[in-house]
C-alpha cells in the first residue's frame, strides 16, 4: 500500500538538520522537558514564515513566564480550550487579507499547540471544528499525560493507574485513576474524513521523525494534526536525563503507537508487530508515578496493550476488533 506522496523538504539525516533555532533558550520548563523539545522542533521545522498560538498549559506558562519569551517566531497566547479556534481565526484572517489584497500573498504556517486538556479534553470541540475546515493549519497536541502546569493532575490522556494529585494511591484505594488513555489522534482521523494528515510522534525517537512530520503536515494542505508523546520528568517522576530513553521505551512497549495517516492510509513509524514489543513493565517501573503498582496493575495494562496490537482491526490505531464482516442482505 503506497502512501500519497507529499512534496516537502525532508531532513534526510541528523547532519542535515537546520541549525537555526526559532524557539530558543531562556524558558522556565523543567529540566529534561520533552514538550519543550517539541516546541523547539516544530518551530525549527516550520521556520521563520510561521505564526503560532499556544493554549494555556505548561508550554504557555513555562515558556513565556514573567513577560519574557523564548520565541523567535511570532507567537500569541490563546485560551486553554481555544486551540482549534485560534488556528482557524489566524488562518481565516490571513486568507481573507491575502485574497483581498490587504497583505502580500505567501505561505504562512499557522500552528497551534495545546496540551492534554487543550488537545484532548476541553479543546476537542474547537479542534474538531478546525479539522473540518479547508484552511491550512497544524494543531499539535503535546501530551505529557497530565495537567502539568497546575502541578500534575490526571486528564483524559493520563495512563491508567498513574499517581497525580487527583489520583493518589491511598490505603483504601490503590488505583484512583481508572480511565484508559483516550486515543485522540485516531479519534480525530476517524471523525474528520477530509483531514488529510493525522500523526503521532515523539520529539526524540526516532531522530528527525517529528521534524519531518511537522514539515509534511505543513506541506500537505488543509487542517492537520500531530499528537506528540512527551515524557515529563516532573509528573512521571524520573531523573530528567532519561527523557529520551523513556520515550523510546513507551513506544517500544506499544503503549504509545507511532504512526502517520495520510489521506486515510496508515503507515507505522514503529511497528511493534514487526520489530517486537517489550513488556510494559520495563517502561512503567522506571517512573515514580507507578511506584505503587503491583503485579495486578502491570498485568492489566499489559493485557490492554496486547489487545491494541493483537486484536484491533487497525492495530494500535482504532479499537475495532477483527471479525467484522458485512452482513449479507436478508435472505
Amino acid at each position: 500500500m503506497v502512501q500519497t506522496k507529499v512534496d516537502f523538504e525532508k531532513i534526510k539525516n541528523v547532519r542535515e538538520t537546520p541549525l537555526e533555532e526559532f524557539y530558543t533558550s531562556g524558558h522556565r520548563t523543567c529540566q529534561g522537558c520533552e514538550s519543550a523539545l517539541v516546541m523547539r522542533d516544530f518551530a525549527k521545522a516550520a521556520g521563520s514564515r510561521t505564526i503560532a498560538t499556544g493554549a494555556t498549559g505548561c508550554m504557555y506558562v513555562a515558556n513565556t513566564s514573567y513577560q519574557t519569551t523564548p520565541w523567535i517566531i511570532p507567537w500569541m497566547h490563546t485560551q486553554l480550550g481555544a486551540g482549534g479556534a485560534s488556528a482557524v481565526g489566524m488562518a481565516a484572517g490571513l486568507r481573507a487579507l491575502m485574497r483581498k489584497g490587504k497583505i502580500p500573498k505567501e505561505k504562512i504556517n499557522v500552528i497551534n499547540f495545546s496540551g492534554d486538556l487543550g488537545g484532548g479534553d476541553m479543546g476537542l470541540s474547537g479542534i474538531s471544528g478546525a479539522l473540518q475546515t479547508d484552511l491550512d493549519l497544524l494543531i499539535i497536541l503535546y501530551d505529557n499525560e497530565s495537567a502539568a502546569n497546575t502541578d500534575i493532575q490526571a486528564t483524559g490522556l493520563t495512563t491508567y493507574g498513574a499517581q497525580t494529585t487527583f489520583t493518589p494511591p491511598g490505603s483504601k484505594k490503590r488505583i484512583m485513576h481508572r480511565r484508559w488513555k483516550k486515543n485522540v489522534a485516531a479519534m480525530l482521523a476517524v471523525g474528520h474524513p477530509t483531514c488529510r494528515y493525522v500523526a503521532t510522534a515523539s520529539a526524540t525517537f526516532p531522530a528527525l521523525d517529528f521534524l519531518n512530520k511537522t514539515r509534511k503536515a505543513l506541506a500537505i494542505g488543509g487542517p492537520t494534526f500531530i499528537h506528540t508523546f512527551d515524557p515529563c520528568p516532573k509528573g512521571w517522576d524520573y531523573h530528567p536525563g532519561y527523557s529520551r530513553e523513556l520515550g523510546e521505551l513507551g513506544i517500544k512497549s506499544g503503549i504509545f503507537p507511532l504512526y502517520e495517516i495520510v489521506d486515510g492510509k496508515i503507515s507505522y513509524t514503529y511497528d511493534p508487530r514487526k520489530r517486537g514489543r517489550i513488556p510494559v513493565r520495563e517502561y512503567l517501573e522506571k517512573q515514580g508515578r507507578f511506584a505503587h503498582f503491583i503485579d495486578e496493575d502491570f498485568d492489566y495494562i499489559q493485557k490492554r496493550v496486547d489487545e491494541m496490537w493483537d486484536e484491533w482491526e487497525l492495530p494500535g490505531v482504532a479499537p475495532f476488533k477483527s471479525g467484522l464482516e458485512l452482513v449479507e442482505s436478508a435472505k
Binding site: W71, P74, T78, Q79, G93, K102
Partner: protein
Amino acid sequence: MKVAKEVKEKKEVWEREELLTGCQAVSHAVRLADVDVIAAYPIRPYTEVMDMLSRLIADGELDAEYLIADSEHSQFEIVKHASSVGARAFGGSSGTGWMYGMEALVVTATDRLPTLFLVGNRALDDPGAFGVEHNDAMSVRDFGWLLSWSTTAQEALEHVLIMYRVAEDKRVLMPAALAMDGAFLTHSQHIVKLPTQEAVKKFLPPYDLGGRRLHPDNPVSIAPQVNEDWVIELRRQNWEAARRAKGVIEEAYQEFNAVFGPRYENPWFTEFETDDADVVLIGLGTVAMPARTAVRRLRQQGEKVGYVNLRWFRPFPSQELRDCLGRFKAVGIIDRDFAHGSPDSGGILCHDIRSCLYPLEKRPHVFNIITGLGGRDVSIEECIKMYNIGLDAAAGKVKDELVTWIGLRE
C-alpha cells in the same frame, strides 16, 4: 432637547433604502465595513445577522471568510485571533450563548483587540427564554469593552461603523459590543437608509494593528504569562484606554456627522422634552418608545416630564449625565435587567447612575424601575405609572423603597 432629526442634506452619501430588521441592518453595516472574517453560531434572537451575512457572501456582495463555529467559545476565539492577524472581524451572540463564551470575551478585552459583536439581548437561562433582557451584554462592563445600545435599525447600522472606528483607534483598541433588544429591535422591520461604500470608506479607515499584528514580518510574543510583577500595571494601561475612549468617541461622532450630516448632536444619549422637565426617566433600548409616547401624553396634561435615551454604557458618560440629570427634581432609572442582592436591590443601570450622581451637591431624587424582563411588554400606561412615581417624589411624596417592579403579575 430634540430627538436627532433625519436631515435631508448630504443626499449623495445614501445609496438606497431597504426594509430591514435590526439584525439585517447590522449585516449591511458589516458588509459596508468590509469585514474580513465572520464567525457564526446560532442562537436566538441575533442569528439573523449571520443568516444575512452568509447570503451577502454567497451572492458576492461581501468578500469575507465565514466560519461556522462549534460553540460560542470557539466562535469568539476565532474572531479574536482573526483580529490578531490584522483582519477586521465580527461575531455576535445572545443570552446564554454570550455567557458560554465569556472567557473569550474577557481575554479579547485584555488582549486589546478591537473586534465587534452584535448582542441580541436575551434573557439568561435557566430556564430558557428568548425575550429581551440586558444582563447578557452588561456582563462585560468591567472588563474593558465598549458597549452601546441602539434603539432603531438605522442607529444600529450607523453604530457598527462608529464602533469599529472607535475600537480600532490606536488610542483605544478595545473590543466593542453593540447591543439591541431581542425581538423588539432584532426582528422588527424598519426602512433603513444604506450609505454608499464611498461614504463609509471616507469615515472608517482600514484596520491597522501596527506593531501588534501577528505576522512573520513582525516578530512579537503576545500575552506572555505575567505575575505579580506586571498585572497591576497592565490593568492601569487598560483603564487609561477606557478613559481615553471618551475623547475618541466624541471625535468619531464629529467625523461621522461631517460625512453623513448632523445625525448625532450628543454621542452619549438623546434627550426628549427635557428642557423644562421636573421628572425624567432614563433607560436603554426600545423602552424609549413607550416612554416617549407617555411623555407626549403627560405633557398634554401639563406635566413637565421628559425622557433620556442612554446610548453608551461603556465608557460611561459620568460627567455628561451629572450635568444632564442634575437639572431635574426626580430621575427614574429603568432597568431591563436584574441584580439580585445588590445594594438596595437596585438594577445595574441604577447603580451606575446613582453612583455617578453621588458627587453632585444637589442631587435629584432617584428611583429605580425594574421592568420588561424576559421580553415582558412595557406599555405606555406603565410608563405613565413610572412618571407618576417621579412626579409624586418631586412633590415631596417619596417612596421608601428604591425599587419598584412594574409589569409583572402580582
